[in-house]
């Protein structure tokens, strides 16, 4: 039955990648969030540069710093994964290498995200 559908009808809505504008939209949503969250992180890091261990540990453990940092980690890794996905799709044309690179991209983003989030949560809840 699907063969009766015209190429235009198949492409309409979700397009050939079957994800529609999902990539574009998530990329922009995280970009807007990152403008605020990265600005916050820059101020936090400049403030903490050269500070001693108890100060850094205590500051990162405070919820008003830990929560924006956790949001930055989440928004940041989603944004960078989408960006790297586009770069891989632009330059890696061999199907095998492309799939491998896209997998590695997802693994790297997940690892960085979880490692950073784990560290912030440990500082927040740990001794």
């Amino acid at each position: 039955m699907a063969s009766y559908r015209t190429p235009l009808a198949r492409a309409r809505g979700l397009g050939p990648a079957r994800t529609g504008t999902d990539h574009f939209w998530k990329q922009r949503v995280t970009a807007v969030a990152n403008v605020f969250l990265v600005s916050f992180a820059i101020f936090l890091i400049v403030r903490l540069a050269g500070a001693d261990y108890p100060t850094v540990k205590g500051t990162l453990a405070q919820p008003q710093n830990a929560i924006p940092l956790l949001l930055l980690i989440l928004s940041g890794v989603i944004h960078m994964r989408l960006g790297m996905q586009t770069i891989i799709e632009d330059y890696v044309h061999s199907e095998g290498y492309k799939v491998a690179a896209l997998l590695l991209n997802t693994f790297f983003a997940a690892l960085m995200g979880l490692a950073c989030a784990y560290a912030v949560l440990k500082l927040s809840f740990g001794a």
Binding site: R28, A31, V32, N34, V35, V38, S39, I42, V46, R47, A49, G50, Y53, V56, K57, L60, L69, G76, V77, M80, G83, M84, I87, H93, S94, E95, F108, M112, A115, C116, Y118, A119, V120, K122, L123, G126
Partner: protein
């Protein structure tokens, strides 16, 4: 590259190397390069956070790297990449609304990105070093 059958013999359009560099093209390339740099730069953020969470010896180890001239240089580049990518993103928000596409506006937005990112980076480091009493 998929050099299979028909696709290999097709004519291809001229790529980047045939064009004289224009500011919007250079900013587009820099946006991608800084994006890649920030991608791997998350390793630095992770090292700092995980090091701090791991304990005082690890914290001092990470800090020693960041305090070393080479570490400082890496951080300086990282901070410029963040600011440049952010200003480039703001430029794309303007373009997303369908505005700013005349040649004059495109060039102005692109010059604003590079000049703004360099100025902001220098201001950031002057403030940071002044706060530490190193300036």
């Amino acid at each position: 590259m998929a050099e299979t059958g028909e696709s290999a013999s097709r004519p291809i359009s001229p790529h980047l190397s045939v064009y004289r560099p224009l500011i919007n093209m250079v900013m587009s390339i820099l946006h991608r390069i800084t994006g890649v740099a920030l991608y791997f730069g998350t390793l630095l953020l992770a090292a700092w956070l995980v090091g701090t969470a791991a304990g005082e010896p690890q914290f001092h180890l990470i800090n020693a790297f960041f305090a070393h001239p080479f570490g400082r240089l890496v951080l300086f580049g990282y901070s410029w990449a963040v600011l440049h990518h952010m200003l480039g993103g703001l430029r794309h928000f303007v373009w997303d609304t369908g505005r700013g596409f005349s040649i004059g506006q495109v060039n102005a937005l692109c010059w604003f990105t590079i000049i703004g990112s360099v100025v902001l980076t220098l201001v950031l480091w002057m403030v940071g070093l002044a706060l530490r009493g190193e300036l």
